[in-house]
Symmetry: C2
């Protein structure tokens, strides 16, 4: 850990959080940004900071003289100057490399690069000359609506225009010429209807290894990132695919650094890259609280060539869930947004981060992280914080929830018995899925189900079966998860055949067996198992037991008050 | 959240971490400390910092003029000046109050105060006049060995002397006179043999509420805090008692702020306060990673009268465990301690914090936090980090581990069957306890056991019983935890009586029943339940299943190789 000085082009909140991470590791930072009191400079007493623009060649040179390593917190920098510096001084390290920044800062060349490397992106074409004819041709090629986007210097939706139909073409031309966008640099992009937007932070180290954080779900409003759910509320397999796509994309660049990869999970179920940022990213702010190593520290470690944690860790513990919400300047009343920061301070499990910036409408002034072992708990807290504000908390779509419990049965004839388990799990708001898996008739399907269950994030499996009931035991033999067996009563032997088939497992492979036909208890047992580590379910189970007790006490009172004869008469009615 | 400026007396690492927390909330801080580049000033670009000593009345006045609220990061400040300031300017808030600091900074008056408030402390007496006679009298009163301690300006063991026997008295007098300790201010303290040293961080808010963090275990070496285990590796009930004692102690003071309460868990099983620090404390550094709200942010919130999280949160998720280890300057080679910081960077789940201080032998230069869902995992990582260094990782005494699984049985006659469960849990390194609880003969003991199990940190209960086996079901009725039932075979009915008594529970109260006499499977099921949320146990279960498979495959190979006749002959041997 030799002492290096890190120069950062840009001094906004991303720079500030980089400086915070650097402070913790005794890494000296020097900031290039206009003004002496920008967000990043506020938290470093260095007298070396440079006052100027991160696009000004002279200022970049001045910064470079003070540092061993240069990095960026914004991609709209002067890459030519950086490339020249690198040539002139080979001992100066610049990460991400000027070449990588150059490719990425032009969104269309970014797309070309990804396409060349077989990474899925949205279909796009350059606009050579903005005029009604060309935009009309593009409409024929891409269909309406389509997107017209500035290739460079665009972020948070700035420089984007939706061409709804032929009639929007004139308006689009007016938008780009009046807003002084660089009209020579535009491209057209096919409209991509998506289920959710995803993002993955990927770190690239100098030995060409890439490490990805979890796949998160980003919710934008007016083109600004608004809420992030970590992990994304989509099946594990899709999360995994998104990480793979993101990792492959970042492998295709050189140099080191962290990259934010924004993706669409399309209506057709495909993962398609939307765009990449070669720096820490708003979608990764949750990592400060939910992960051991934050995106900012990961970036530092990669550009300074410090060790990365072996087998890169993600969440702090295996059941961490997080929601991040941006604190945007109120549209009407200055500093009004601090009201919900204050509410966040009063909310358990929430942390507030403010960036030392002056409040302006819709400006990113801070963010709030909520962390819990249950996403439902995070959501409840989010609701509490943003209640009665203009913020829309985007309630969970429970159909997207990944199942914690899997209910399987050998045959659909078991469903009338097993449905009671489903009812209980619904009642306790436990995400679950239910299907038919037969040990004797679909043995391979059964193997696949058992082997994949834990990878899908399941914690408990409930298996119902009748007769020579092999399903619970066979599944237990192929998963380390707890398996609960429900003996289903058949047409003869009163279910004792199923009971013994399920409960009398050999030493080594246990099945948690419940009473014959009592899938209610199987589900309640599953809730208890979840509750052993998840406080929300623990509390719910405690409440359930209390309610059961109260019901019996009421009946006892009634029996005592009315006498047994009257009570019996009423019961017989 | 109106803007307040916070003045901090002292600019060491505790001040630095307070400033970091303040930066996150846009709270302006001004530091009083000698030099322009002390640890705390490094991470704030304010031009208002005061250069001087936190004991200098003029400098304290200069600081006060710039602030709305004053606080401390070290208790050896000038409390008279603070008290005068408060009188002169009632709008200036000072927390902790000068009165509280004054009581605490004199360790003997601290003890008198606590004793007056019925808080258990070690027996102590003031030394009026250090001389052989008085120390000899004290030896008669307290027995040998006893401690001689400076009442003020002592920390990290400085100003402490152990009087082993009569012969040490002269040496003690020499120690205190030669070391220029204030000989007028000493006290004698009874020797307190302890099982472990504990500490609890307690926050006191302006509305007189106190909030405590978890009870942690501190391990000192040469009187300097070395390693912290959070939570402490002692039974939950003892942890709870320690929090209560600490909370009561802090209730007895006025004003706001965070307090570090150091305690002994004595050989006789008593909780006794050792000393209190009226500020953030080394034993609370783990909170930066393991808790949503760190000790530093909690201190800020209390002294600035910001909202505290309702129902104050402790650990990030319910299964968080942490170990903190201090980074002390190497005794021989400057900066050598950075070697194990680097090793920590390469270790998953570890975070490194350096304080921007120059390396000097045994100086506190930083700390490392390790966080995981399993304490065993934390310990493994600690070992990896400190391997082959002078640091001694203090391996877990597993007898102190709090049980995750409780094994109970109706009678000692069930033990031959139930002991197999114990063997399995030992094999998987699951902390458990085992006892006799009879539903029919000790019904009240059973209720107590069931109700307290979850509070003790248990995750699963295994209950074995025979005949009209009521124990598993009754326990399940009184706890929301998963209960596993083992039917124990009696002298008649082949165990079917026990099986049906256990498995045929009514709807509402499930018991996870395993095969007759198969407590092995009960324990394996318990490990699966733990493994659903604890990755260490999940991996171990997966390895166990693989090993089982391999054993059978070896047997299959042998049977194929040797033929069934030879194999059978060998089996019969």
């Amino acid at each position: 850990m030799d002492q290096k000085t890190l120069g950062i082009l840009g001094g906004g909140q991303l720079g500030r959080m980089l400086v915070e991470a650097a402070n913790r590791l005794n890494v000296k930072t020097v900031i290039l940004e206009k003004g002496a009191d920008c967000s990043a400079k506020q938290i470093s007493n260095s007298t070396e900071h440079v006052d100027g623009s991160f696009t000004d060649p002279e200022k970049i040179q001045e910064l470079a003289k003070k540092c061993n390593v240069l990095t960026i917190e914004i991609e709209h920098v002067n890459t030519e100057t950086l490339a020249d510096l690198k040539k002139l001084n080979p001992r100066l390290k610049i990460y991400p490399t000027p070449e990588t920044i150059k490719i990425i800062q032009d969104k269309f060349s970014q797309k070309l690069h990804l396409t060349k490397n077989n990474i899925p992106v949205v279909e796009s074409y350059p606009i050579e000359n903005i005029c009604p004819e060309e935009l009309n041709d593009m409409g024929t090629k891409l269909n309406y609506p389509y997107m017209l986007k500035a290739r460079t210097f665009a972020y948070d939706g700035r420089g984007n225009f939706v061409i709804k139909n032929k009639n929007s073409i004139d308006e689009a031309i007016k938008f780009f010429t009046e807003n002084k966008q660089n009209v020579a640099k535009l491209y057209a992009e096919k409209w991509c209807p998506f289920k959710v937007e995803l993002a993955v932070m990927v770190v690239r180290s100098l030995n060409n290894k890439v490490y990805s954080y979890s796949t998160v779900e980003t919710i934008h409003k007016d083109n600004i990132c608004h809420v992030v759910y970590a992990p994304a509320r989509i099946p594990d397999s899709v999360q995994f695919e998104a990480r793979l796509v993101a990792e492959n994309a970042i492998k295709s660049f050189d140099g080191a650094g962290i990259f934010g990869v924004e993706m669409f999970y399309s209506q057709e179920g495909k993962i398609i890259i939307n765009e990449i940022a070669p720096r820490p990213h708003n979608s990764g702010h949750y990592t400060i609280d939910a992960c051991v190593t934050s995106q900012f520290e990961a970036h530092l470690r990669s550009v300074l060539d410090l060790p990365m944690p072996e087998g890169f860790t993600n969440f702090t513990t295996c059941d961490t869930n997080a929601i991040m919400i941006n604190v945007l300047g109120d549209r009407e009343v200055k500093d009004k947004e601090l009201e919900y920061c204050e509410r966040a301070l009063a909310t358990p499990n929430a942390s507030v981060y403010l960036y030392g910036k002056e409040s302006k409408p819709q400006r990113k002034l801070g963010h709030i992280n909520i962390v819990s072992s249950s996403m439902h708990d995070c959501e409840r807290k989010l609701h509490h914080i943003v209640e009665n504000t203009s913020l829309d908390p985007h309630v969970t779509d429970t159909t997207l929830n990944k199942p914690l419990v899997g209910i399987i049965m050998g045959s659909d004839s078991d469903l009338p018995v097993m449905s009671a388990a489903c009812d209980i799990l619904k009642q306790f708001s436990v995400p679950f899925d239910v299907t038919i898996v037969s040990a004797h008739r679909t043995p391979h399907r059964m193997s696949k189900y058992a082997v994949e269950a834990s990878k899908r994030g399941m914690k408990v499996i409930i298996a119902g079966a009748g007769g020579a009931a092999h399903l619970p035991g066979m599944v237990a033999a192929m998963t380390p998860l707890p398996v609960i067996g429900v003996p289903v009563k058949g047409s003869c032997l009163d279910g004792v055949d199923s009971l013994h088939s399920i409960v009398q497992m050999p030493r080594g492979v246990p099945v948690a067996t419940v009473a014959i036909n009592n899938s209610t208890n199987a589900a309640l047992l599953a809730v208890r198992i979840l509750g052993a580590y998840n406080d929300t379910y623990f509390q719910k189970m405690q409440a359930f037991l209390l309610k059961q007790e109260e019901e019996i006490l009421q009946k006892a009172q009634k029996l005592e008050d009315e006498g047994y004869e009257q009570y019996l008469t009423e019961m017989k009615k």
